[in-house]
């Protein structure tokens, strides 16, 4: 399944400073790909350093906002959100500076 993943607010530094990743994620069997599956795929395949700055347990760390097609993932079921081909998933760290 083809997805566009974007990292912002500093999280891109965990994936070699690349902000946009066009990826192809394999599904196993008939089951739809969920955000939970995607997170573990990202951790394995994209995060090159300090994974604790991206994840905590099996979700994202506090302070990270997740957007599926420009909508907060709380609106689509968080970890249970199912993904479709060509979805855009954004991971963004909240900023404190000014």
């Amino acid at each position: 399944m083809k997805l566009t993943l974007e990292f912002g607010g500093g999280l891109e530094l965990l994936c070699e400073s690349v902000k946009t990743h066009n990826v192809d994620v394999d599904q196993t069997g008939e089951k739809k790909l969920t955000m939970k599956d995607l997170l573990s795929w990202v951790r394995t395949n994209l995060i090159k350093e300090r994974p604790e700055m991206f994840m905590k347990g099996d979700s994202v760390r506090p302070g990270v906002l997740v957007l599926v097609n420009d909508c907060d993932w709380e609106l689509s079921g968080q970890l249970d959100t199912t993904l479709e081909d060509k979805d855009v998933v954004v991971f963004i760290s909240t900023l404190h500076g000014g």
Partner: protein
């Protein structure tokens, strides 16, 4: 100055004539602005343009909070501060600049840190709050104080090449804690002067220089302008404020996107159904401990 039924003097009419020409805004909209009061917390990179535009536009009463003193190395991007104020409080300096461009509005100066001990008293005097601070504990504290007092919060942030803008606690939208119930790890809480979310050592070598310029001032300039704009929408009660939505500015790719946020969370510790975030609780909350980050730190020194 003569009045002719609409309650605005002829000087006022002339000053704001461009506003008054706008349909759906006109005298009513401008009167709303002149009657409203806005508290701006932080008179630095974001606060500079935000305060200048708010003063210019005719917000009736403007409060400014900051405990810092103007230093020479602020002047390269905090455009509200004149050299004559080096060594004096940022609040005094910013207030003088605002008065110089608009003497008809009231400006109130709070030359002190915004803390749980003074926050409720200061904020209760204003309709709208603008968060232009630069650290995590202040952002939680300001949010909670807005929830306790029922004030809309115009929150802007800028680090590196990224800017973020939204309105919390307004029109049934979420508060900051609805989005971020737990604080981020303290290593992700570094201040503006520490150069980036994940530390100066990592950010800069991977950043090209055209981006670095945005880092220096481009993003705060743009976000500060837009904070003033959102505050104006709320104050005049016209337009669609950025509540329940967040504007993300990516200066590197020169992209602005507006995303949809969750609604108010029933389980939010600050604004949820069973929340017991009273003034008392607020005053005893230790924000530095909660975020494991100090409210203010000594400035970084440069040696060449």
């Amino acid at each position: 100055d003569s009045n002719s039924g609409h309650g605005l003097s002829s000087d006022i009419i002339y000053r704001y004539s461009r506003h008054l020409l706008l349909p759906n805004f006109g005298v009513k909209g401008q009167s709303n602005l002149l009657k409203s009061s806005i508290l701006v917390i932080g008179a630095g990179g974001l606060g500079s343009p935000a305060l200048l535009y708010l003063a210019a536009c005719g917000i009736g009463r403007l409060g400014i909070v900051d405990h810092d003193v103007v230093e020479l190395n602020n002047l390269h991007r905090q455009i509200i501060h004149a050299e004559a104020y080096i060594g004096q409080s940022k609040v005094k300096s910013a207030a003088a600049a605002c008065r110089a461009i608009n003497s008809t509005i009231q400006i109130e100066e709070y030359k002190e840190a915004f803390r749980t001990s003074n926050a409720l008293e200061i904020m209760s005097k204003y309709d709208i709050v603008v968060d232009a601070t630069d650290n995590a504990p202040s952002r939680y504290m300001i949010n909670d104080c807005c929830v306790v007092l029922g004030k809309p919060l115009i929150s802007g942030a800028a680090v590196g090449l990224d800017g973020q803008l939204t309105i919390y606690n307004h029109n049934g939208g979420p508060c900051y804690r609805c989005l971020f119930p737990a604080p981020p790890p303290s290593t992700a809480c570094q201040r503006c002067s520490d150069s980036g979310v994940l530390g100066v050592g990592k950010l800069l070598p991977n950043t090209n220089i055209s981006s670095s310029f945005y880092f220096v001032y481009g993003v705060p300039g743009v976000i500060g302008c837009l904070q003033a704009l959102e505050a104006l929408k709320v104050a005049s009660d016209v337009g669609e404020p950025l509540s329940g939505r967040m504007l993300l500015f990516d200066a590197l790719s020169a992209k602005i996107r507006i995303v949809k946020l969750r609604g108010r969370s029933l389980h939010c510790e600050a604004c949820g159904e069973n929340a017991e975030f009273t003034p008392q609780v607020f005053q005893n909350f230790d924000y530095e401990k909660f975020t494991q980050t100090p409210l203010s730190t000594a400035p970084m020194k440069l040696k060449l």
